[in-house]
Amino acid sequence: MAANEKFDYLLRLGDSTLILSQRLAEWCGRAPALEEDIALANVALDLIGQARLWLACAAEVEGEGRTEDQLAFLRDAHDFRNLLLVEQPNGNYADTIVRQFFFDAWQYPLLQALTASSDQRIAGIAAKAVKEVAYHLRRSGDLVIRMGDGTAESHDKTQAAADKLWMYTGEMFERDGVDEAMAAQGVTGNAGALRETWLAHVREVFAGATLIVPAPDAWMQTGGRRGRHTENLGYILAEMQFLQRAYPGAQW
């Protein structure tokens, strides 16, 4: 039972990084400027690297002989445990950057807490990933400010993106049986003040961006961490998993 909870917890970490990575990769060759294209690809690479580490760890904890690749390519949408936020469409550039900022500002303090995990392997992955995410967060925060405090059009689009994505942020701070079990075992380190840390960072950046922070007690959509997803995930998987579905076991 304990192993299953840790497996679920690792899937949540791995799936969110995997799906966001896949989303960012959709921008490859299409971003509004070369520097942006390169930056998005870099962030996507970091996230896919982290996803591999988390999913490899999950596969080992599960102990059923599955591999990281099988977890990524041979599960259907209801078995994915990623946040709803990361499966939301890329939309316009403000949608992509606000989504990234909300995620980075959550992932950074989460990973910081996980570096103190009682599970040495999880602590090791977090210590590595947190250094990468520091750069992601600096960039996404800077861009939110640049776009929010930019032209009237960029301001309005960035505010609209924040308002639209806000309802997917509540899920990041939910605690269910899996989280409680992981906290009891010391696996999650000290993640207690995660929501306050996140909100403080969002408020600081939004103030610099002349954006209005939506109401923290607004209604929130949830379900991703329990396998209940928006319709977007199926389309992502259809593309991401196509090769393994069409040619099972293909390797190169």
């Binding site: 390169i38 602590a123 210590a127 990933a129 990468e132 600081e204 610099g208």
Partner: protein
Amino acid sequence: MATDPVPAVARVWTWLAEVPDPEIPVLSIVDLGIVREVAWSDAEGRAECVVTITPTYSGCPATAVIAESIVVALHDHGVADVRLETRIAPAWTTDWLSDAAKRKLKQYGIAPPAQQVVAISAIGRGARSDPIVPCPRCGSTKTQCTSQFGSTPCKAMYRCLDCLEPFDYFKCH
């Protein structure tokens, strides 16, 4: 050519020091601090060379190429049995770059890391202290970051406001 089946660990290190990084060939994988340990172990009666590596970034695409280059390089020196182990903790840091490596980077046109480990606690807007990165061509400190992300995960893009040349910066990590 007669080769020693179990060459000394120190010799294996000198061979690994000749394996270039696939993205920044002016540096070897030893210069970069990717190779952490070399040891011989007994694998059912056969001597097996175990090379422990620490990847730079989680998703660095060069990692697979580096692993392959190590095996090929050791095979070329007569070491038939090579096993690679990946160690992610402690996490790779640019502090592991040798001074020689930093000189080589600069000569190659890439500005070396300008400070020790990045202060990741200082990511808030207020507490921001970006390092001064001198231009590797003209030495001017009037430079500007154009993007925190460059052509490989380990680099950022800068431009020099004096000689007007763009250049890569090997960012602190």
